[in-house]
Symmetry: C2
Subunit: 271 residues, 2 copies
């Protein structure tokens, strides 16, 4: 197992979540885009995948304890598991990865097209958010707020594997990820489908909590520091800020997503 071909794959590495735009990794990334599996580890992440009929599991490694717990909880295994020691899993991951005795290789999930989102309540649009921890936490929060989909760019977004999947804590199985080539064009298409497109910007004049919002709604968030790109900003119907009373006026992007979703779905409109 120590020699398996996914060892050291960027997607399974801490803080370098398979951006795939690094020259050194290009060949490996290109190959993975076609048919290489994604890596899932950790109890919530793997059991959510095992319980998702749409997720094709290619291989499963489990410790004795994890296998017993899977049996205790009556979770059906779609493949024959390979019994391993904890350190055999740890050796495949970054030193701080909490794998809880489970690691799976799986196919990526099929993604819906934008045209399938027309009846959606709220979608979240992420403009070049590259950190896999943040991206994963946003997916988890999106699942908690019953978001219909997360739309993101094919480039400059982390792959749905490894650290991102772990941070999403099972949400990868629940929230469809729609990957687009051009975000401004995607926002235009969402508008054609009736979406109200609101971009979050800490320098905006209008407070999201005081704004009239309507469903279907697309909430657009940019990377910390950079914010929304010019083309993304221009493609929004409105820009809004979160009204923060303290000395710091911008939040970690996953925290900003949580607040924006709360305000939009629980307070201003009914999702």
């Amino acid at each position: 197992m120590r020699e398996r071909h996914w060892r050291g794959k960027p997607g399974a590495q801490h803080g370098h979540g398979g951006l795939g735009n690094n020259g050194r990794h290009r060949r490996r990334s290109e190959r993975r885009d076609v048919d290489a599996p994604i890596v899932l580890y950790g109890w919530h992440t793997v059991t959510a995948a095992l319980s998702n009929p749409a997720r094709r599991i290619r291989a499963l490694w489990a410790t004795e304890n994890a296998l017993r717990r899977l049996a205790d909880e009556g979770i059906k295994l779609p493949v024959e598991p390979e019994l391993v020691r904890p350190d055999a899993i740890a050796a495949q991951l970054s030193p701080d990865a909490v794998h809880q005795g489970l690691l799976a290789e799986a196919d990526p999930l099929p993604a819906p097209g934008l045209e399938e989102l027309a009846a959606a309540g709220v979608v979240l649009v992420l403009d070049q958010i590259t950190d896999p921890h943040n991206f994963g936490a946003i997916l988890r929060t999106a699942a908690a707020f019953a978001v219909a989909a997360v739309v993101t760019t094919a480039r400059h977004s982390p792959e749905a594997t490894g650290v991102l999947a772990k941070s999403a804590s099972g949400a990868l199985e629940l929230v469809p990820l729609v990957s687009v080539q051009n975000l401004a064009r995607a926002l235009a298409e969402l508008k054609e489908h009736g979406f109200h497109v609101v971009g979050l910007d800490s320098a905006a004049t209008d407070d999201l909590a005081a704004m009239e919002l309507s469903a279907p709604l697309a909430l657009v968030l940019g990377a910390e520091g950079k914010g929304l790109r010019q083309g993304t900003r221009a493609a929004c119907d409105r820009l809004a800020r979160l009204d923060l009373p303290g000395a710091i006026k911008s939040l970690n992007v996953s925290n900003a997503s949580a607040l924006a979703l709360y305000i939009a779905t629980r307070w201003r409109i009914s999702a």
Copy 2:
């Protein structure tokens, strides 16, 4: 500079933010507790420290670009900076650390006592939240919500240095950190000072957003997975959950903090 004694200090390492409870590092941690400096890097983190009169800076390394930007923005330097190349700073940090040409060594800030928080609007209490990224993001959000202090345990909390400071994005200078030996006793003391103590628990019956809250308020959050410890839970006046409409019922702890603060300060009570 490459040989400086803080090289490889756990607080500057990714994902191992100086927990100081690892046997291998014990001697180094004990020494640091007494007089070793904390490490600050990144533009927001370092400039916030430079602008804080209460923060004693021991040393400052800066690239040519960073020095020019400091001069452009009129930021006064309390010590003579050492001009270095970016890779000299990078060599002191984990590979994914974004230092933006600035690194400082500084003294920890003096912490207020619990008795000084009596007039506070809201304090956040963290029960063994060990991840320095999450802890830092919580501090940043606490600063955005004008939280009076963050109370945490001396043990099983990350040190206020390195990754935590970077994730806090300057908030370490704004939100006092109160470190206590025994959290249940600290909560009892807060109650004596008139605090309403509410613990967040995803299994609680009551929805935080529907609860009568009063200031001063202490919001208590536990680690993901483990939640609040039994003694912490018993020391709360009330337990509350965040009402989440989706399939996932628990959030990343920093996202949960953001929502709890929003609900408590903007909706239910005036901070």
